[in-house]
């Protein structure tokens, strides 16, 4: 049985830098931090899996530990895999509901007006709190009556006319909750003479499934998505996603966490800002009119991890008249499904407090961020509307 265990965590030199950057360890003393939960714990778990520590459940998988690690240890991945391997996930009805975003979307979207009204009612929220453990203080995401796909189908003919084409991985949120960002991507790319096409089928990228322990389901989705990508890429240049967590998962987590080989397509999966910034740099930049706004930019954890902040900043800075203030690179605390859970509510809120305070003090017109989960958290906790960078780009088109 030698050499079957991945011991790359042994590159850890115990410097504790990961813990200095862990938002959960700072907010919640029950979490011993990524060093102990990750590489330290892994040594013990190899010896005896019973040493699996309950405390792992507090990790939000924000990946800040990996960004900070000077020794290149995949701390967050070690923790997620340990949780999966040793049955550390609670997979009740709440976890199922929160993580199966595409299923929930396809059920809720057709009845959107009803669902949206009902989920805003206090008694309903109380009921969800008591029966499922979804915190009643949390604003629940709204659904859209017209999915992005059905909107897109009506004008797919227009898209066919472009010589250059890309494939768009819209993700669950854009399809079922709010199609705005998808529509803005289409108009920005069209202004750059690039057409958009969708995969025949796509499934949730898997990020909420991984976070809640549904690894088999996530792997199935990953395999389907990779097949679809391969097919779609015969006719288009690349696959683009507008959500940082989706992009990170499709590109980096499929091989690292789910063991799904994406090497054939990996180099052709792009975060929207990265693709557009590269086009701009090559001279394909549409005419832009000034957008006279003062905005604060919040960088999402998974975008930092995937190395995408540079491209979003490049795009924001290319919009004439726009004043961009970069917020401190701190976690907003929601972490997808994490902050919806009753037991995590106070940790989640206390992690985000720094960002909320900074936003309120700046007195900006809008907050800008690429991540839908961050958007929900900031809008719930500040008086500000949060925009996607593509929305500002779309506004500046002449």
């Amino acid at each position: 049985m030698l050499n079957l265990i991945n011991t790359s965590f042994d590159n850890c030199i115990k410097c504790t830098v990961c813990t200095t950057r862990c938002p959960v360890a700072e907010a919640n003393p029950d979490y011993p931090g990524p060093k102990q939960a990750g590489p330290d714990g892994e040594r013990l778990r190899i010896k005896n899996p019973e040493l699996y520590d309950e405390a792992l459940k507090h990790c939000t998988n924000c990946k800040r530990c990996e960004v900070a690690c000077p020794s290149g240890v995949h701390v967050g991945t070690v923790i997620q895999l340990a949780k999966a391997k040793h049955g550390g996930f609670k997979k009740g009805p709440r976890e199922f509901m929160l993580s199966h975003t595409d299923l929930m979307g396809s059920l809720s979207s057709p009845a959107a007006p009803v669902v949206n009204t009902v989920t805003r009612l206090k008694p309903v929220k109380k009921l969800l709190d008591k029966t499922l453990g979804i915190d009643e203080r949390r604003t629940l995401p709204k659904y859209t009556g017209q999915t992005f796909r059905s909107w897109f189908n009506k004008q797919s003919g227009t898209q066919e006319q472009f010589k250059r084409k890309i494939s768009f991985f819209h993700g669950c949120f854009t399809n079922y909750n709010d199609p705005t960002v998808g529509k803005h991507l289409v108009s920005v790319l069209n202004a750059m003479n690039i057409g958009v096409s969708l995969m025949k089928k796509e499934k949730c990228c898997g990020v909420p499934l991984i976070a809640n322990g549904f690894f088999d389901k996530a792997r199935k989705n990953a395999e389907l998505n990779m097949n679809q990508f391969a097919r779609s890429l015969t006719e288009t240049e690349c696959v683009i996603a507008t959500e940082p967590s989706c992009t990170m998962t499709l590109r980096d987590e499929y091989p690292e966490v789910l063991d799904v080989d994406n090497s054939e397509v990996k180099d052709r999966i792009f975060f929207a800002s990265a693709f557009i910034a590269r086009e701009f740099a090559r001279g394909n930049q549409p005419d832009m009119k000034p957008v006279k706004l003062r905005v604060a930019y919040h960088s999402p954890c998974h975008l930092i991890k995937a190395g995408g902040v540079i491209h979003t900043m490049e795009l924001l800075n290319s919009i004439p008249g726009l004043e961009v203030i970069m917020l401190d690179q701190k976690c907003c605390g929601l972490s997808g499904t994490y902050g919806f859970k009753k037991e995590n509510y106070s940790t989640s809120q206390s992690i985000g407090q720094g960002i909320f305070d900074q936003i309120e003090a700046l007195g900006v017109d809008y907050v800008v961020t690429d991540c839908e989960s961050c958007k929900m958290q900031v809008e719930m906790n500040t008086g500000h509307t949060v925009l996607h960078p593509l929305t500002l780009l779309a506004q500046s088109l002449t």
Partner: protein, 437 residues
């Protein structure tokens, strides 16, 4: 995408040069592959403290002219080294930390092993001792720990200090403060690192209305009427210096904090302050990415390829390489050779493997490998196959020709060479009219 300057490495040298560039209005990006060695640093800045013959340097700037010709300080000269440190002190002050020095003179700082090290610039929480007579005015020293915290050993500090003849007549008290006394409730006190202790104290003690008074009286009880109270640096990350001065006001004692085993809170404070300053100036910080290779043409570095965006090279007019030495993974070695990991630049002649280090690691003699690093010209441009790369500068630990540990010069070299590299870039840009878009 094109920048005016791209800095590779987020440590002291990288951050200093990045701040200088951003302040001059250059479109600047800094790439850092994980946190830097600042997280392990003392929080003081050593400029030049020890001569080849192991004697202490009192006046570091005067000493520069006695250094060998290949030394980074010799290329800069004392005037520029001084200016760079002045710049650094100003930037730290703008980020909220007032560093202090004794004019042109070095002072002594204590370490967690009880050693006395020469340094030039310290945070207020580090009590500066005299360089010539470190024990002057001290009759009683109290070394105090929070019971159960394992990354600080008061008895070891006392034993180390007693070895100095200067401290022969000093009386040492070693004491603990119990967790119950200060109302902190740790799950497992022995698992806590300095940072976790600070978080615990913040939550359980200092956020309470009487927290400061409770802690002050615990110190008073443990320290008695000592002339100097030594504590591990576990009290606070942000505003740690202010907290110590408040405790001094409450107790009437002189309190000195010592950086513990990593993470070092004074080092983290410095890193946070510099990162914050860089962001305020509009600089872009790319953390967790790594430079894989560079595209060189006509003795210039045109662009770099990074691990996270391999198909999108980053272009710049000028680059600074501040990737640190072996520990920070800027330099790499195998059995027979030495390499710069990032660009494969020319490194100082390392000689025979047997001569790289002394047989005994800690016998007080210098090791050859400490001097290893990238070879540069007078302007700190490195060479590739013997040809100088004119728009690339090297700064800090990655440079060859100095011994950061034996001569106590790591911080000063990082700051001065980082500052100098940025100045070269700024000067060249004001000479030409090109701007990056």
């Amino acid at each position: 995408m094109k920048y005016n300057s791209i800095i590779i490495g987020g440590g002291l040298a990288g951050l200093t040069s990045a701040i200088r560039c951003a302040e001059a209005g250059l479109k600047t990006a800094l790439i850092s592959a994980g946190d830097s060695a600042l997280t392990f640093a003392s929080g003081s800045i050593d400029v030049l403290g020890i001569r080849q013959n192991n004697s202490l340097v009192q006046y570091p700037f005067e000493e520069i002219s006695h250094l060998p010709s290949g030394h980074p300080y010799q290329k800069l000269g004392a005037g520029q080294v001084k200016q760079s440190l002045h710049f650094f002190t100003g930037q730290m002050a703008k980020a909220g930390i007032q560093m202090s020095s004794h004019g042109q003179q070095n002072h002594s700082r204590l370490t967690a092993l009880g050693a006395i090290r020469p340094t030039w610039l310290s945070q207020p929480g580090t009590k500066a001792l005299s360089i010539a007579a470190p024990a002057a005015g001290l009759r009683r020293v109290a070394i105090i720990n929070i019971a159960g915290f394992r990354d600080f050993q008061p008895a070891l500090v006392a034993a180390g200090m007693k070895k100095h003849p200067e401290f022969a007549g000093v009386e040492f008290t070693v004491a603990d403060i119990n967790a119950e006394t200060v109302n902190i409730n740790a799950r497992n006190a022995y698992e806590l690192r300095s940072l976790e202790m600070a978080r615990l104290l913040k939550r359980d003690l200092f956020s309470q209305p009487k927290g400061l008074t409770i802690f002050a009286s615990a110190i008073q009880k443990a320290a008695g009427n000592a002339d100097l109270v030594v504590l591990p640096s576990v009290l606070a990350v942000e505003n740690g210096n202010e907290l110590i001065s408040q405790l001094e006001a409450h107790t009437g004692l002189h309190i000195c904090e010592l950086a513990t085993l990593p993470p070092s809170l004074p080092g983290m404070r410095m890193a946070n302050a510099l990162r914050q300053r860089y962001r305020e100036l509009g600089g872009l910080l790319l953390e967790g990415d790594e430079v894989l290779s560079g595209y060189f043409d006509n003795n210039k570095l045109n662009s770099i390829k990074t691990r996270l965006n391999p198909s999108m090279p980053l272009e710049a007019d000028h680059f600074i390489l501040a990737t640190g030495s072996f520990f920070s993974r800027g330099l790499d070695s195998n059995q027979s050779s030495l390499t710069d990991k990032t660009f494969n630049l020319d490194v100082v002649e390392a000689g025979q493997r047997e001569q790289w280090s002394n047989e005994r690691f800690l016998n007080g003699h210098q090791h050859g490998f400490s001097y290893f690093g990238i070879e540069t010209n007078e302007r700190f441009n490195p060479y590739q196959n013997g040809k100088a790369i004119t728009n690339l500068y090297c700064a800090g630990g990655v440079l060859g020709g100095f011994n950061p540990v034996a001569e106590a010069s790591a911080g000063g070299v990082a700051i001065s060479t980082g500052w100098f590299a940025a100045n070269q870039i700024i000067a060249q840009r004001s000479g030409s009219s090109g701007t990056a878009k």
